[in-house]
Amino acid sequence: MTSHYTGSKNHTPTPGQTRSFRIWFHRFGSSSYFYHMASRWGPRAGWLALILMVTGVYMGLFVAPPDYQMGDSYRIIFIHVPSAWMSLSVYVLMAVSSAIGLIWKMKVSFCVSRACAPIGAAFTFCALVTGSLWGKPTWGTYWIWDARLTSELVLLFLYVGYMALDKAIPDRNTASRATAVLALVGLVNIPIIHYSVEWWNTLHQGSTVFRMDGPSIDARMLVPLLITTVAMNLYFVSVLFNRVRCELLDLERRTQWVRKIVNG
């Protein structure tokens, strides 16, 4: 079995290599395949994200009832909670693709993790800012150093540190390996963020949706929350695909398939 599968080769599997997962894995490892797949699906995901986001925010602001204690200020949940979830899942994707890159030496995989970092940082920033704006009227303070808020801030520093390390190393291969190790080390923060509200006492409340006894939220509030969550996932896919395409064009600028795209 071949170990390096970059460049535009033809994707017909050899008879000994018919396991479908292996074929799928190797196709995604091919830069040109990934580039064309991303060009096809990125814009579609983006348009769907826009439609769902408008629907979800409309439902959240005008259809969902006010909260029995917080009145209307709780409505920031429709942005805050999906951003916070995305900040965690984007990091997991970044770390997993870094691990795949390290183990299988897959260039596309490193491109994916490099593309994840700024998007994840943006989601983290958004979660911190919206949470802070909600915290002032609800708790009485913009910021408190409790376990949940602090670990989420550490996540922002991890993303920023990843980007800084990436920019600090001129050689692309060295940078990819160094940032991949950083992403793996930072992975330990993800369960800490998620379980911080259970392991320690914090000002931040516990999970509303992922609970043993089911979500403790009115269904009319939960539906727009889930819609904006799907919308943010699709938005992420769309932006990620665009960024990966740029990374791939830069990485493979000397190959035939990129020249063909550039020259039309």
Binding site: D67, Y68, W104, P137, G140, L184, V188, Q205
Partner: protein, 149 residues
Amino acid sequence: MQAQRKTRLLIVAMILAGVSISAVLALLSLNENINLFYSPSQVHAGEVPADATIRIGGMVVKGSVNRNPDNLEVSFDLTDTAKVVTVVYNGILPDLFREGQGIVASGTMQNSRFVADQVLAKHDETYMAPEISESIKAAHDRQPEESDY
């Protein structure tokens, strides 16, 4: 090539295992410092450092809030359903402050009372429409033997 890939897989697994173990050890040893507040039971058990600014958290006992009509001074009892600590505070309370609500106060213990310089409301994880909350309250009032907390 297969063997090299296995080695790299092992290295990645070892990085993850090493970092996880050290994180667990660090967090276990820091456990007391990561908790945001002490409970009234910890205050009664003498686990709280004397003369130091600390935070305590709990539920405001129903019917215990006393407001001074002349100024902003307010006193109330804080409980974790086992022990009670009386808190005095001079300042503006957050909107969500009410009896039965979870709060976190920072300040010092003085003569077995907690003198707070900041009171924050802790929001719980329940999101309800007002009319549903009303009907739950109505059902609750029909069964007055339920717990007060």
